[in-house]
């Protein structure tokens, strides 16, 4: 009973094969059922997330949030969904119908597809891709595509501009994310997420805290939330790429975004916080699920926390921060961890992790030192008194410059 899910799965496959289906077909059906179960679970969770989002945001802003409908406003999301479903579905004139309708689907699908790889518990996982990590990046790329299609199809200049900004941001932040993503891969010597989580007896946050932070930051940018929420900055671009979307299409976008945030939290936790690892998770995979979701929601909270505290960044600040700070730093981390990995003995994970931690601390100190020096130079430059019109300059060209200083 420690693992009801696999139990049910085996039961079902036995049932099916019992019906005389060819084993291939059976696996196909089983896979299908698995996917269906996971997807529907996620979507339901998605609706709950809407509530969570609004409640937590309210709390941050020192207000209560929806509490009218149902106990603590739990029914509010349902109301929202029903409202969205009822709303008239307007397609802007000149919009590219096919692309217009396709983009919300892709946006949501991208979020869902990520779950295929995440090991929810020791035995419950979509599939054990040996290139799991890369899969994550790939799906991220697809979400970018969706946004572009949305921006393009709605035949609206602001939408297009918003789409461009989003894509620029996502594409540029993808680079540090992918690089930093390699750090856990180096630590576990495998790209499969299942292996990463299995290896994480000692959470990787301990071994590579800096990598974790960079991963988190870049993912925030990927989501287009928090300090980096330029795409749908209300004051400037109204609602970014999903201006023209109304009704359920907008709902899908909104839900996709929330789900994606949760997924990022889940990925972060599985990569750096040991995923389903927790006391009793080994023995009872179902408890693993609990730990997994606990960590996921914790990270989700952190994301929301950063969203409602940091002010919005300017576009050039955002890009500079990425290309001039994050990318070089992540490259350095990757290089050093790779080198150190070769040096440190893998036999004793604790020593290994501490070594890695030490490395990270050193890197942090060095970067702080560099930043402080650069900041000092900048302050001096700004503070330097710029001379007013020097007498030399005032001299007419005809007289030789040397003699006119009296």
């Amino acid at each position: 009973m420690r693992d009801p899910v696999t139990l049910i799965a085996n039961w079902l496959s036995g049932l099916l094969s019992g019906w005389g289906l060819s084993p291939g077909l059976v696996t196909v059906i089983m896979v299908f059922i698995g996917v269906l179960a996971l997807a529907s679970a996620m979507l339901v969770l998605d609706i709950f997330l809407v509530w969570v989002e609004r409640k937590v945001v309210a709390r941050f802003q020192d207000r209560i949030g929806p509490n009218r409908l149902g106990p603590y406003g739990l029914v509010q999301p349902l109301a929202d969904v029903i409202k969205l479903l009822i709303k008239e579905d307007i397609i802007p004139a000149g919009a590219d119908r096919l692309v217009y309708n396709l983009s919300p689907i892709i946006a949501l699908a991208a979020a869902l597809l990520l779950w295929a790889v995440l090991p929810i518990s020791a035995t419950i996982y979509g599939t054990n891709l040996n290139v799991g990590v890369l899969y994550l990046v790939a799906v991220g790329a697809i979400s970018t595509l969706g946004i572009i299609m949305a921006g393009w199809a709605s035949n609206n200049k602001y939408a297009l501009l918003g789409a461009f900004r989003t894509v620029a941001q996502m594409v540029s932040y993808e680079v540090p994310m992918v690089i930093v993503l390699m750090v856990p891969v180096i630590l576990t010597r495998s790209m499969g997420l299942k292996d990463i989580v299995d290896q994480q007896v000692i959470w990787y946050i301990v071994a590579a805290p800096l990598a974790a932070i960079i991963f988190l930051i870049s993912n925030l940018a990927e989501l287009g939330r928090a300090p980096f929420d330029l795409p749908e900055a209300e004051s400037e671009l109204v609602a970014g790429f999903h201006i023209e979307y109304t009704g359920m299409k907008f709902g899908m976008f909104y839900a996709g975004e929330l789900l994606h945030a949760l997924t990022v939290g889940a990925i972060f936790s599985s990569l750096f916080l040991g995923g389903w690892r927790g006391p009793g998770a080994e023995a009872f995979p179902i408890i693993g699920v609990f730990w997994f979701f606990l960590k996921a929601f914790f990270m989700y909270w952190v994301i929301m926390w950063s969203k409602y505290t940091f002010p919005r960044l300017r576009v050039d600040q955002m890009l500079n921060f990425n290309w001039k700070f994050l990318t070089p730093l992540s490259l350095v981390i990757l290089m050093t961890t790779a080198v150190l990995d070769k040096l440190l003995p893998r036999t004793n994970m604790l020593v290994y992790s501490l070594g890695m931690l030490l490395l990270n601390i050193v890197i942090v100190l060095v970067t702080l030192q560099i930043l402080r020096a650069r900041a000092g130079a900048e302050r001096r430059r700004v503070a330097e008194p710029k001379p007013a019109a020097t007498p030399q300059g005032a001299v007419t060209a005809s007289q030789p410059p040397s003699g006119a200083s009296q």
């Binding site: 590219d96 899969y135 790939a138 697809i142 595509l145 393009w152 993808e174």
Partner: protein, 169 residues
């Protein structure tokens, strides 16, 4: 017809159809999107050919970067009201003919080739293509040189592209 073959056929049809759509649709953005579909089809083909890493790489590189680049390019170079004019130039007849002849030629050449219909051999279980690939790419006696050259090429292309597209004032 095994399931796999059915899957293969579906994917083949999807890929070829998307490819045809890429070269025939009038709206360029649609062409780009159909391209994405084709690339996706190819990625799935890789999966069928047990080259998982390549599939994901395909997705990341082609769809993630190149397709988006295409879309960017199309949007940047869009001229007003030029979407619905026929996008093929006037000697498409010849092009079609050449393509068909090419296809025929290839097929005709491949037919007598004895290895034409070899069946897929079982992958030895212990073999881990990803590891082999990783090592092949960096081990000196295999493909490190092309790998390094490719990196230099990418750097050059990077700088070149920026220089060329630089908006000279």
């Amino acid at each position: 017809m095994t399931a796999l073959q059915v899957v293969f056929l579906i994917i083949a049809v999807v890929t070829l159809g998307a490819a045809l759509m890429v070269v025939t649709t009038r709206n360029l953005v649609h062409a780009a999107l159909w391209l994405v579909v084709t690339l996706f089809g190819v990625a799935v083909l890789y999966v069928l050919l047990d080259a998982g890493f390549l599939a994901v790489a395909q997705v990341i590189i082609y769809i993630g970067a190149i397709a988006i680049l295409f879309i960017f390019a199309v949007m940047l170079t869009r001229r007003v009201a030029s979407d619905n004019i026929p996008q093929t130039n006037n000697n498409w007849g010849w092009a079609a003919l050449v393509a068909v002849v090419f296809l025929g030629g290839l097929a005709w050449v491949l037919r007598p080739w004895q290895g034409f219909s070899t069946q897929a051999s079982e992958l030895s279980s212990r073999a881990d293509p990803l590891r082999e690939l990783g090592q092949a790419l960096v081990s000196p006696n295999a493909y490190v040189i092309p790998f390094e050259v490719a990196s230099v090429l990418l750097l050059a292309a990077l700088i070149g592209a920026i220089m060329v597209a630089w908006e000279r004032k």
